[in-house]
Symmetry: C3
Subunit: 352 residues, 3 copies
Amino acid sequence: MSQDGGCYTWIWTCFFEYSTPKILLIRSRKVGAINRFIQAVIIGYVIGYVCVLKKGYQETDTVLSSVTTKVKGIALTNTTAMGLRVWDVADYVIPPQEESSFFVMTNMIITPGQNQSHCPEIPSATANCSSDGDCMAGFSDTRGNGVQTGRCVNYSASAKTCEVLAWCPLEEDVDPPEPPILAAAENFTVLIKNHIRYPKFNFSRRNILPHINSTYLTNCVFSRTTDPDCPIFRLRDIVSEAQEDFQDMAVNGGVMGIQIRWDCDLDMPESWCVPKYTFRRLDNKDPENTVAPGYSFRFAKYYSDGEVETRTLIKAFGIRFDVMVFGKAGKFNIVPMLLNVGAGLALMGLFI
Amino acid sequence: MSQDGGCYTWIWTCFFEYSTPKILLIRSRKVGAINRFIQAVIIGYVIGYVCVLKKGYQETDTVLSSVTTKVKGIALTNTTAMGLRVWDVADYVIPPQEESSFFVMTNMIITPGQNQSHCPEIPSATANCSSDGDCMAGFSDTRGNGVQTGRCVNYSASAKTCEVLAWCPLEEDVDPPEPPILAAAENFTVLIKNHIRYPKFNFSRRNILPHINSTYLTNCVFSRTTDPDCPIFRLRDIVSEAQEDFQDMAVNGGVMGIQIRWDCDLDMPESWCVPKYTFRRLDNKDPENTVAPGYSFRFAKYYSDGEVETRTLIKAFGIRFDVMVFGKAGKFNIVPMLLNVGAGLALMGLFI
Amino acid sequence: MSQDGGCYTWIWTCFFEYSTPKILLIRSRKVGAINRFIQAVIIGYVIGYVCVLKKGYQETDTVLSSVTTKVKGIALTNTTAMGLRVWDVADYVIPPQEESSFFVMTNMIITPGQNQSHCPEIPSATANCSSDGDCMAGFSDTRGNGVQTGRCVNYSASAKTCEVLAWCPLEEDVDPPEPPILAAAENFTVLIKNHIRYPKFNFSRRNILPHINSTYLTNCVFSRTTDPDCPIFRLRDIVSEAQEDFQDMAVNGGVMGIQIRWDCDLDMPESWCVPKYTFRRLDNKDPENTVAPGYSFRFAKYYSDGEVETRTLIKAFGIRFDVMVFGKAGKFNIVPMLLNVGAGLALMGLFI
């Protein structure tokens, strides 16, 4: 560097310096062809992978969604315990509303008229007894139904079990009825209203598409081939789309996923942004090595005549439908485009 | 390469070799200025975009959150069906607890005294009839209320419909009352307790900020201007912040989102990490081409006199509030800083 | 460039050109050693950080999960209000099913026999009065229990409060009982069935591992040391693993997180992909400056004798358990490997 004229001049000279490698130009068919091939690969990668496949020129956003569901349908049952009985939505959807999920009862074990009293425990390793000495007052087995009173009583003509303080009579320890009591649930329909939003692009849309009119909505049922835009689903269709059998699943219950995918390219016309529905069984149907297969829970309806409280215990088997909304939207934006194309060119600069 | 002295010497020589391009130094105002300008742009990009805007020197973590809510308020209604009646939280929040959501009933259609019996179906295309031949025993329309018995009976003086086995009397097919029955719900308040955690930084915080004392908490109500830190919200304020009218929304119901954003820069004082509340209507209020507008569901209260089970069916319209917690925290960490600054310098190296 | 022979020849020549910097070879121990050291650091970074630590050669996917829970256990209580009473799962799990969460009631304040009538308000700043003039008919305090009738009546021998129209008798404004009424809840167990899926790799697995048989499942209880694979958890163990005391927490209630982490390297044997359970208290237990500490809500059981509707109001304190499933799976894939190793080599190219 020139140092005549003091420090200031030196910095000035240095500031306007530019250093570049001396370049050797090779004119060779072989070397040149390889060079151009590598360049072509990189340009192909930038255009093909970054731009076309990954849409690197777009800014992306993930979906915000709200889901409401409404089940419709009537089932008639004829059981010895309850006689002829009609079930409607207030009877079989429990709890009546959830955030993005709904449960439809398909089978049940009903134990009516329970009240707080004493009765013999269901036979089991810890409950069987031959005399009062086998029972311990105050003991309660986690898998039992009540708290032992310390007495050993007749469960049946042949078996004696410890007496328990419990909601008596106890629920019978039986397998769920087959065929399921609410087998008619396969014809129930559910309307799923899904409203989505991409906050970054201030873009909203709902699964009742603009071209759908009210008349169509009151009559349609979703079908992948004939009615792919109808937001009303027959429960049997949801289950069979997931390669399962409704009547099989209804016996022990299970969990189904209703997946709604909104992948939108907002550089394209808005009408191309439509939901795609897929259905999948979420729990494990493999019956081996499983305790409590399927999906069930117990709930009770409480009655009182002013003095004694009685309840009807229902062990409800059924299908829980979880609605899951996924989605990613992209829209052209100069910043990600520059970043991605720049990175591609940098890569090219390295290999040339 | 020098190959005298065998393979070992060759490797040794090769190991201590360093190759660098021959550099051409250009002293030109024009070229130098362009060179420095490009360098300035890249340094500006690294400092401005990577460091300041994107905080590339920070390690980030996403929020883990737990939400509990508690609604308070009393409403008095005077209807012909029920007379003067007071509603409290156990009456209008259904179900009584959910994970990060709560539903407040604002309007309803009540059908008391239903029991399993026969009655004429509500008139519709499939239910209207002129003789028994028009009705099919055992047929149940998905949109109907019961299972047809095969008889055609008088619905009113002028209309005949098929008789159904159902919970009778049937719910009347009417629009929800206007003004809404629980119009007073606009004055209800909700306390939202939100506890967040950034597991990577072992950082916890809650939306009841340290400077808030108990006396303030028992009296305050959130207001963006005067009380931005109070975690108690009046329902009307939530709805009006989202540019909606509570009384309009209360008629048919809807879904509101309560968004809590915790964006924390943990290199800054902890007291700067405060929640930001925003409110948004999540469902679609557009009334055209929509079946079942708003948000409603049916539930029942069951009674029994020991022999006959009766129920009160309630079609509940109301607002579901979904509490959504977002957030990202960043804290200085040497690894992402090196990676980001390194990538910036590499970019600079390419273009110099 | 050679321009004899026209434009076509020029392009042809240009296409097969390759330019490379002239290289200066320096044979110096010092410079060579520094050069090799930098190369070693970069290679170490690529191999150590990118390949081993970050597994940059793998494609990753995040987990899809479904959770079902089943609580078991019996509690015996002896209170003046209800006498000897047994509680089972239908009594203390409210609501009976939720998506990935369950609530177990541990303590309560019961107010039986409420009906719509008049009674004096609980004393408070807005409810205390000395004459009818202090009460305003129709006024309802958000934190009160009813709508004032405008009369001032005796609350007790010493205090007068405004009369309200409400569900009377009112719930007493007392602290939750200590010890908690359902203290026995610490021995309840919960079976958590978790089925996960990595959709990109079509890989499914459940937390009941293949080597577990049915006999083991009916008897085991999770223990970090002796039974780390058992999916049945004692509630007390969950709470104490989070360094909390169950009986303390049971008084006011709280929120517990059950975290299940599935981090799977699918290049390894499938049997290495096992869930890891961790437990954490999610709400804030700090009792200072908090309104409504813990977790509680009110619900009611409704009864009717055909004319008058009565209800039992229960303020339920308890623990809400949120099951959270996390996870990331990785599997070798050529594309991310090339991208990551390529970026590493590019970095190396720059610094050599």
